[in-house]
């Protein structure tokens, strides 16, 4: 089973070979409500950890999505431009957002584990 890591900004990160896949969590999509638009980065653009990478708009609010690790965008989920609702319907599978080639893969280790993230989300629900 693939191990997912999380950020406190509610992104998930999944490592597969030398690539990481990034999306937003079930909690995040639920908070946002129906996603209506998404502005994706350009393939081959580079980001530093915590740079604004994606802007997402829902019926409730527009929000920034931050890059969880340093790296280069190697693929974006083109389907989201036509079907942004995939983020709501399938945040961990079909609603993935970008694939990144990390330049400092060790940064992944310092992201939150599932248990740590669940604890954080539990607090946010208060």
């Amino acid at each position: 089973m693939v191990e997912r890591k999380f950020t406190k900004e509610h992104e998930w990160v999944e490592k597969s070979d030398q690539i990481v896949i990034v999306g937003i969590t079930e909690f995040a999509q639920d908070q946002l409500g129906d996603v209506v638009s998404i502005e994706l980065p350009q393939v081959s653009s580079s980001f530093k950890q915590n740079d604004v990478m994606v802007i997402i708009d829902s019926v409730k609010a527009s929000s920034d999505i931050y890059c969880p690790i340093d790296g280069e965008i190697i693929e974006i989920n083109e389907k989201l431009s036509e079907q942004p609702e995939l983020i709501n319907q399938s945040p961990y599978e079909e609603g993935w957002i970008v694939k990144i080639k990390p330049s400092s893969p060790e940064q992944i280790d310092s992201l939150l584990s599932k248990e740590q993230y669940d604890e954080l989300v539990g607090q946010s629900k208060e």
């Binding site: 638009s37 708009d57 527009s62």
Partner: protein, 243 residues
């Protein structure tokens, strides 16, 4: 119901200004917020603001030019808003409920209490409207960037639905008299003056958040940053026509 409390809120009254300047100041506050700020402002010239993700084609740009109406793109999402006879506010804070609906509700409580002070029976209408007698009098939008929440919204003093429709590219079959009548039945101005609403808002912000109000003005340096944002972003065609 109200959970967020502040010790103090800084009050910024910037008067009537052009659309691009108004949006530049909001963005400046969003990225330079240390303490909560309530900004109250108006429009020196009618202006249509379009949402960050909206296509410019939804506005009849040429007609806006002909009728001396500005067009500016916001940093928040949502649809086109015709700003004319209204009071606009923005509220910027780093301390806010993660739950978006809850944050709308808590911040909108300031508007509701302000309208009640003016004798209006105002209610919150999810997701993000305030209604009086079943009609929308206030619409709001939010963005969350830089760990900061910016909510801005309009409180309609008077509404000119015909003019608003004439500036938007609504498919011709939809601009029937019935459609205009529908909007007239759903949207209303509150028929109060800018100063009445402004005073009521400040007073209710103090009551609702249980805080002191500290008026301030932007420094020369801050004004220059806003000017730069206006020139390079909100007045530029690159920004306005980006979609």
């Amino acid at each position: 119901m109200i959970k967020i409390k502040f010790e103090k809120i800084r009050i910024l009254e910037t008067g009537n200004n052009l659309g691009p300047w108004n949006m530049a100041v909001d963005e400046f506050l969003l990225y330079n917020c240390k303490e909560p700020i309530l900004r109250i402002y108006g429009w020196s010239k009618p202006c249509i603001s379009i949402g960050y993700f909206q296509n410019i084609d939804e506005v009849d740009y040429k007609k806006c030019n002909d009728m001396n109406v500005d067009v500016v793109r916001r940093i928040t999402g949502g649809g086109a808003v015709f700003h004319d006879m209204e009071l606009t506010y923005s509220f910027v804070t780093k301390n806010f409920p993660q739950n978006i609906l809850k944050s709308y509700e808590e911040i909108s409580e300031v508007i509701i209490q302000a309208l009640k002070k003016l004798g209006l029976d105002a209610k919150f209408s999810p997701l993000n409207d305030v209604i009086v007698d079943g009609k929308k009098v206030c619409g709001n939008a939010q963005t969350r960037k830089n760990n900061t929440l910016l909510q801005h919204g309009t409180i309609l003093l008077e509404v000119d639905v015909e003019k608003m429709f004439s500036l938007l590219n609504v498919p011709i079959e939809k601009i029937s008299d019935k459609k205009i009548l529908d909007v007239k039945n759903r949207v209303a101005g509150i028929s109060k003056t800018f100063d009445q609403v402004s005073n009521a808002l400040k007073s209710s912000a103090r009551d609702v958040f249980g805080c002191d109000l500290v008026p301030f003005k932007l420094s020369q340096e801050e004004l220059e940053s806003c000017q730069k944002l206006m020139d390079e972003k909100f007045s530029s065609e690159n920004w306005t026509f980006r979609r």
